[in-house]
Symmetry: C2
């Protein structure tokens, strides 16, 4: 994503339909102070900590697995009907660290590989690359994941002498595809994971953002009766990106190097102690305070954001329809929620085209090729609705339409001349 940030910095006047950061209109610096105070009072009043202990909890080195684990567990119970032992949680420096820790734990040796539904979030492939852990793509099906291909890929890896450890996926409003897996698909995936003896790494940053009247579906973890799912959570989209607080639920029983059996969460904590020691208790306190102020539910707390995303998603999809009427070769997804729409165009979309789009047309988007690891040309781009206004969407789509028209004509002219 560094590359995209650099492009955005080079063309500050361009409308960005690339940025996936959350809506910031409702951000409130004053709330930081309130959240800190709320959490401080919680330590004293609810947990019975004396003044010295409160100081120590907020300001010293602390518990590797975190200090808001009980509140995160409550949040999962309230918002996801998911019962999690607080001890099975590790609070991390954003969801990215959670991903990194899980991949490191799964990479026990050079034969280990993970699978990931393609197109894949770059944070996953980037973390795996740092760890020399190969990522093998699994095809996206009409309902999120092609389960048949998942089985084929697991067996193929085994036939090559490799150990497929887990499959990474975002069941809800995935980044970048925007697709969601239906409930039957979720159950089928859990069955398949048990049959093939692999874990599912469920990443759920967008689950609270169904569009309009769309129904929220149970998470894989909520349907998981056999501890097949490692669940990654983020507060970046629901509370504040700047807190850099995420978490992982890892209730699997695993053999530790010393021969004892314990929670995967404890193995992750050992790894974390050598990466970041512990997540800043001050940052955790901000998130903990925000949770406490909303009875540990973020569904109601994010109503304004959900409305903004819904409005923008509808505005974008409607706007695409007006600019690319029936008969146009341009196609797009119509997701039921989340931040992202994928637009398919009649030409390959690469970084050079993005630069030209930024420079000559003043609009930014994300080449879908970034989300595949094979370097093959991809005729698609990702649009994000999370950090723009409807007016900016209009301007951005006008500019995108001009680019698509010009690029299509240019290619046709080249073919004619050729």
């Amino acid at each position: 994503m560094n590359f995209l940030n650099e492009v955005a910095q080079h063309y500050p006047a361009a409308v960005s339909l690339a940025a996936g950061r959350p809506y910031e209109e409702f951000f409130d610096v004053a709330a930081l102070h309130r959240h800190l105070d709320t959490f401080r009072r919680h330590l004293a009043d609810d947990l019975g900590q004396g003044p010295e202990q409160v100081h120590r909890t907020l300001l010293q080195y602390g518990r590797t697995k975190g200090i808001i684990h009980h509140l995160v567990a409550r949040n999962l119970a309230v918002d996801e009907e998911l019962t999690v032992a607080p001890e099975a949680l590790v609070v991390t420096v954003g969801c990215q660290e959670a991903m990194f820790l899980v991949l490191r734990a799964l990479r026990a040796g050079p034969d280990d590989v993970v699978l990931a539904v393609a197109p894949t979030y770059v944070g996953l492939t980037g973390a795996a690359r740092l760890l020399d852990l190969p990522v093998r793509p699994v095809a996206t099906g009409p309902s999120g994941v092609d389960a048949g291909d998942l089985r084929v890929q697991v067996r193929r890896a085994r036939a090559e002498g490799l150990r497929p450890r887990a499959c990474y996926l975002m069941p809800d409003f995935a980044n970048p595809s925007g697709t969601s897996i239906d409930v039957a698909g979720r159950r089928a995936l859990l069955d398949l994971a048990a049959e093939e003896d692999v874990l599912l790494i469920e990443d759920n940053p967008y689950g609270l953002f169904p569009a309009g009247d769309a129904r929220r579906l149970p998470t894989l973890k909520a349907l998981d009766t056999a501890r097949r799912v490692v669940y990654l959570g983020s507060f970046a989209k629901t509370v504040l990106p700047g807190a850099r607080v995420g978490y992982v639920v890892a209730d699997q029983r695993v053999a530790h190097p010393d021969g004892t059996v314990g929670l995967l969460a404890d193995q992750l904590a050992k790894i974390k102690s050598m990466v970041t020691v512990n997540t800043s208790p001050i940052a955790q306190a901000v998130v903990g305070g925000a949770l406490l102020e909303h009875g540990c539910s973020l569904v109601a707390a994010t109503a304004r954001e959900r409305a903004a995303y819904t409005r923008n998603l509808h505005h974008l999809v409607d706007g695409l329809g007006r600019r690319f009427p029936a008969g146009s070769p341009v196609r797009w997804t119509v997701p039921t929620g989340g931040f992202f729409v994928v637009v398919t165009v009649p030409f390959p979309v690469d970084d050079a085209l993005l630069h030209r789009s930024a420079r000559e047309y003043g609009v930014l988007w994300t080449p879908m090729a970034h989300f595949y690891d094979d370097g093959a040309p991809v005729h698609a781009l990702r649009l994000s609705v999370s950090a723009v206004t409807p007016a900016e969407i209009d301007v951005g789509l006008d500019r995108l339409a001009a680019l698509v028209t010009d690029e299509t004509a240019r290619r046709q002219a080249a073919v004619t001349v050729g």
Copy 2:
């Protein structure tokens, strides 16, 4: 260190001469709010950010290399007479992440190794283990590092077809040895690093804590005219551990994978973007505010802590002298600052003995064997003075003396019987 935390939790009544966390008497939760406000005003008044930009800086995703880099650079100029371009700094989630990023950058392939002065801080060896990066020990000499052995180890590694990339060391009041390198030793190390073409990774968490009238020495980085030194800094001991904010100065020019040449800091930022994305701007704001409130100098700001550590260090060393008079086989280091004293005893010191010390004698310390990677028996333990009162030091030393007396007698009896 997880093991030590577990022992400490098992024996809460034991006096801990093991904990290396900073003195917490002067911690102040109210200061958190003040620091946040100070930094917010700095963004608006000094950097000219409008209200929206201030919100975005404090609450959104942000610059991978950090938002207080200019203040850290000023701090290094004021306190260390060290001129650093802010662009050469990466603000990290504690110094541990800085260490992790540097090791990952140095591990370009399976032939890369790093050297480290032994005994070695466990955060370094633990991070290297996560990255499958071998760490080869270099002997400690009378003045911190045995430069001759460093040269031998570099050449031996090369003769084995390996690439020794860097040597890790703490020139000031090292953890765990307590030793410091004199100025001539520092210059000799820099010459050696240039001659042998390796980097020096200078870790400096304790540099602001000379005892009493001891003089602070120039950092390796301040003497480095050839960009041989990667400098790791921490605010955990000087501002707050709970902020989890550290940094790395990496002004080396390196070839990036895309063929361009740039700063090592930028390569570290790319790695960081896949580990933690960025350091919480809220945590950075707390540290930034603290820096601003003290004119970016932490020397004056830590005068009370320095006095407490000095008092404790003298009290501990005097107390050892009273309990183990001339003729005793017990020896100890007399560091010129920092948190740690190493005590050599006439028997091997392992985790089993620590458990017995905690259970039967009520005193905790750290077996020095933890700081060596070879598993050989070590007849020494580390005492820390940072998180205790003089009265606790007295009780702890009485208990330690009883343990040493009993254990020595037990061993002699076993020898006699045998």
